[in-house]
Symmetry: C2
Subunit: 376 residues, 2 copies
């Protein structure tokens, strides 16, 4: 019943269908509609399936508590408040982020089928899980898609130690003849979730990842995680770090790209204005480009697969470790965990069962026997 490695904390196995059922039931019990609960549970469990536990059911408490306190509007119905040609603006009315962004993706796909390209922006929204789930949804519909969101400020642009940007994922997906290729990564060097994960397994922090309240590199991993959560002056560094020599200005420019689109352009809050007065006010954006509008989508998907195969086939620096293309690891995890169940930390499981009691539903069912863990 333990994971791999001496320091790995104990985990129990939960089947994907059970984790999804439980998550949806918790959200419904907290006041979400059945449809909203279903899509939100799908997105959260997709992260656990993909091995991105920081964005999975470990976050369910915040959703359930948000719905119960009213910080997240349980009665919200995403509303199209702007619709001009291939562009829509959606007001999420402070509801759950997942249903709002799912609405936006489906609108964007429809618009791109009609016009060739589209952009849909969401305002007054909340946390929406992993961007990749949404980009892959659009890619399955034949789109080259970009999806992103802003978030609570945790990332300091180069030159300051003040967090001004969310971890603002850069995310795209495209259908290829070899399957959907999807990249989804925070525009910080590391995400807070990654730090939490390393902290749990006793791994050290590295320079170039985060700054302390004194504006100097922080090497205290627990302190950094706590400081980020409590907004006590810690900051993650953008991709490229805090210095121009390794491209910190480029990571800053990338995080700003997403903050601009999701904040000012979406008519949403941005940066330090998010999460004020009981409302997150986050923004999301979706861009779609239909392969159909470009030419023969089969030929394009075949060419994209060729490029991906050539990258994978480049000689590895370590011959044991072939070059990876984006999403490979997540897809491998997902296949294994759909077959063998999802390992959930005992501490997370305890929290889920405490939540169950809070909202008056039964506990999560775990699998009795230990299943083979997927290889990292």
């Amino acid at each position: 019943m333990t994971g791999a490695g001496d320091l790995a904390p104990a985990r129990l196995i939960v089947e994907a269908a059970e984790l999804t059922r439980f998550t949806a039931a918790s959200l419904r019990a907290a006041g979400a509609s059945s449809a909203d609960a279903a899509v939100t549970a799908d997105v959260l469990v997709a992260a656990d399936l993909a091995g991105v536990e920081s964005h999975g059911v470990a976050r369910l408490r915040r959703y359930v508590e948000g719905l119960k306190t009213g910080d997240i509007n349980r009665d919200a119905v995403p509303e199209v408040v702007g619709d001009k040609g291939s562009v829509c603006v959606v007001d999420a009315h402070n509801g759950l982020g997942q249903p709002a962004l799912c609405t936006a993706v489906d609108l964007a796909v429809g618009k791109a089928r009609e016009y060739g390209t589209s952009a849909v922006m969401v305002r007054r929204s909340n946390h929406m899980g992993i961007a990749g789930w949404f980009a892959e949804r659009a890619a399955r519909a034949g789109m080259f898609a970009m999806v992103s969101t802003n978030a609570v400020p945790q990332v300091a642009p180069m030159g300051t130690s003040e967090p001004m940007f969310g971890t603002n994922p850069f995310c795209y997906a495209v259908p290829t003849a070899g399957g959907i290729l999807c990249f989804d990564g925070a525009t910080s060097v590391v995400s807070r979730g990654k730090l939490e994960q390393l902290d749990r397994t006793g791994k050290p922090m590295q320079t170039g990842w985060a700054l302390g309240p004194d504006g100097r590199p922080s090497l205290d991993i627990t302190g950094t995680v706590t400081g980020l959560i409590n907004r006590k002056g810690h900051a993650l560094l953008p991709l490229g770090g805090g210095e121009a020599d390794h491209g910190g200005h480029k990571g800053s420019g990338l995080a700003l790209f997403i903050e601009l689109l999701c904040g000012p352009l979406a008519g949403a809050r941005w940066s330090r204005h998010t999460y004020r007065g009981g409302e997150a006010g986050l923004g999301h954006f979706v861009f779609c480009l239909s392969l159909d509008a470009l030419g023969d989508p089969g030929a394009i998907a075949a060419a994209a697969a060729s490029l991906a195969r050539e990258v994978q086939g480049a000689p590895g620096v370590d011959p044991q470790d072939p070059v990876r293309i984006p999403g490979e690891r997540r897809h491998r995890f997902t296949r294994a965990r759909l077959d063998h169940g999802i390992p959930v930390l005992e501490s997370v499981l305890q929290d889920l069962n405490d939540l169950a009691e809070l909202v008056g539903i039964g506990p999560v069912a775990t699998v009795e026997h230990d299943l083979p863990a997927p290889q990292h």
Copy 2:
């Protein structure tokens, strides 16, 4: 007549109008049409104005020689070979990259005015200078724009030492109430042009920038520059470097984003297939999103300016060095150099005058007196 710093090589001052006139005259004398020569000269000199000399007239020889040998088709007229809703595909017919991409930007702006969003892809093209020039052109027309290109492979994705991607710039521009904000940066940690510049001034190479033919970090700056030019097994590293710990997989995913769009999606060549058989076969892409389609463009531009001002106003790690927003340095350079002239390296000037002789035009006129240099 010398620049700042002991190691800075000698430079002569040329007025921007004269450098543009000379560049256009050289291109015309090499066979380009007046219109193609004019836009190409504008884009090249814009790089020199902005302090991005690696993309400026120092590259003119390759253009002139390409036109003369026929490697670049002097008679090419960009042709719209696909036009479906908001999407166009342009065949550059192996002509100069600048006129082809300029055509694409103008098409994209027109389409986005009509539909709200647009994408225009260019295939069978050549080097096109700085992406920022094109993104700013679209932003001046009220667009949030992305522009990029692929290029000769010089960047090794994480996990291999084989160059698979061009330096593939990530570039966007947006109109704000405080002026156009434009980010334009290679998706490698450093560009080859930056290495050449450091090499000329005797500055050292850093680990995490490039690999040698043995797949290990290269610290030999001259050897790396030569190796990259001659394709002798050197490779630049993607933003984030060669290791996952600092996000090398993210930089790789970003470079792949551009290679996918400019190669397979544009119907152009990609990666190691570029520059084969006397034709570069490069691809470019333009995305436009009209602020008009999103709502009140004035309000959006004001919000974008607020975000930019807040970032600039964040307390600096070094109080003497305020936080910069993308494009600030380039705009400052451009203002100063429009007023006071462009310092051009003596070696570059000599090369320009050799070119002039080759194509039978007069030399570049330099300014007699040394003008104040802009502050870096």
